[in-house]
Amino acid sequence: MKQLPVFLLTPVAVVAPAAYASVYLSVEQAQQAIFPKASFVLEDLALKPRVWRVLGAGWFIVDQVVGKSELITYAVGLDANGAVRGIEILEYRESHGGEVRNPGWRRQFVGKSAADPVRLDDDIRNISGATLSCRHVTEGVKRLLVLYETALKGR
């Protein structure tokens, strides 16, 4: 029988940032994550996804996909045969400005202002409750595989 987890209920407080963003990896960190210790040469394809040739190993591509309320920058590594070697999210940005159905519930917090110290310096990082599927990213990866077939293979 598991113990009840230690759980401290604090006064319900709300943080309403204009938008939420999370940066996981820089381009260089994602390169190292998918192709450790490799050398990269930027390919100038004049296309939106940025493509690097990974010397002796394949291709590294950084692309962006846009969902209804989110923008995701991600990286895909392809091996020399065009097979996916790894996918990493670089940055995730969301904004729900146009989607609030009933902002009236916020009136119960009248009196608390943006300057209120409660939770303001709290890093919003463990969020329970999802609003997105990874469909856009998986569709993006499929498009990058087509890009490989049409523009990179044999290059």
Binding site: P5, L8, A19, A33, V100, R106, D123, G129, T131, S133
Partner: protein, 255 residues
């Protein structure tokens, strides 16, 4: 809690959502991430209805009376699903599909890798597999040497290590707003809500989809339990505190 720049973080698409993993940075972090994501991928391969030869797909093709061999992980999830089915008076049912009869009571677990289907069923582990994946990702991180961290699969998350972590929940009618529900140490948090129509909640009693403006957040010792319990809590809000307490968990309902 201030953000710590000493944390290593990764996020990858998996299980139909984004899976985010964070550990205090250490020499074995890259390997720990790979092992944890591999555990998540394994759950996807075994339990996704879309993967043609997954255990779930094969269960759903099985004839009445058939014995189906499954991976031990799948068997464990089915076992927990049946336990929670019993504990919630049937409000959690991984085999309650719209337009069909049958429930998880119609499958029997034999030894630790075999399932007998008493009738044709449409089994979906979508309501519990994410939590199970999170639990196993945490185990993989621990085995790889991480002494603390968080695994978050699209909002189903588990915290491990000595330090308490703040958890926020999206407001169900205003998803850009985050409500702090407190701090968790060594525990799991899972939330179900419609969030503008992204998820479908089937009521096993009527076999119909239920719409709700509420969210249910369950805090439990493990994410498998937390994940599964969110649905019964949304279906019967009045019973939610008793249902969760009966499984050693707690619930927060927001509207």
């Amino acid at each position: 809690m201030k953000p710590r720049s000493r944390d290593a973080r990764r996020a990858r698409p998996a299980l139909g959502t984004l899976v985010e993993i964070r550990v205090p940075d250490f020499a074995g972090a890259a390997t720990a991430f790979d092992r944890a994501f591999a555990a998540v991928e394994r759950v996807h391969r075994l339990m996704s209805r879309q993967v043609p030869d997954s255990d779930v797909a094969r269960l759903n093709r099985a004839a009445p009376g058939a014995l189906v061999a499954v991976d031990h992980w799948t068997w464990q999830v089915l076992k927990r699903a049946k336990e929670i089915h019993a504990a919630t008076g049937g409000l959690f049912d991984c085999a309650a599909a719209p337009g069909k009869n049958g429930s998880s009571a119609d499958l029997d677990l034999i030894d630790d890798r075999t399932v007998r289907m008493r009738r044709q069923l449409v089994v979906s582990l979508d309501g519990i597999a994410k939590g199970f994946a999170v639990d196993h990702a945490v185990e993989a991180l621990r085995l790889a040497g991480a002494r603390a961290g968080v695994v978050n699969a699209g909002g189903d998350l588990r915290v491990f290590g000595e330090e308490a972590q703040t958890v926020h929940v999206r407001h169900p009618r205003d998803p850009g707003c985050f409500v702090s529900i407190g701090m968790v140490t060594d525990g799991a948090v899972a939330t179900s809500a419609r969030y503008f129509g992204n998820s479908t909640l089937i009521d096993p009693r009527s076999r119909r989809a239920r719409r709700t403006d509420w969210s249910a957040t369950v805090i439990a010792g493990d994410c498998t339990t937390a994940d599964a319990l969110t649905k019964p809590c949304l279906l019967d809000r009045r019973a939610a505190p008793a249902l969760t307490a009966g499984c050693g968990a707690r619930v927060v309902l927001l509207h």
